[in-house]
Symmetry: C2
Subunit: 80 residues, 2 copies
Amino acid sequence: NREYDDQGDLIVCKLSDMRRVTIQDFKGKSLISIREYFIKDGKEFPSSRGISLTEDQWSIFKTHVPDIEKAVQKMESRIQ
Amino acid sequence: NREYDDQGDLIVCKLSDMRRVTIQDFKGKSLISIREYFIKDGKEFPSSRGISLTEDQWSIFKTHVPDIEKAVQKMESRIQ
């Protein structure tokens, strides 16, 4: 359970073995990344499978978490 | 302000002009995608820049939203 990845970015949480939410300082601004990693030569690297959100985008995202949750629940009840 | 994208997936919110959170039914399971779109021949398509979370991964993610927010605030205070 390391706090930082091999690029020095803060790991906030793991979503699966190789998927992580990290935070990095990019040119004086925070970037919030949700990304899949891969292993090469024993080191972990961020893959292109993922997205890095700006603070503004993160701000919008977090206010919509209840809407996303509601939509997931609705989709679930439709599927079953 | 459309509710569905050109693939028929539900748009829950827009994070920027071309970045969206969508929900789709994939083989009887919900997939929550945070993804950038691009326009080709007047139609919008999901690009490879993004990530699609399973319900389990979404579940983990949403419980960590306060931790992510805390880490962003901490990073901000360190940058300034």
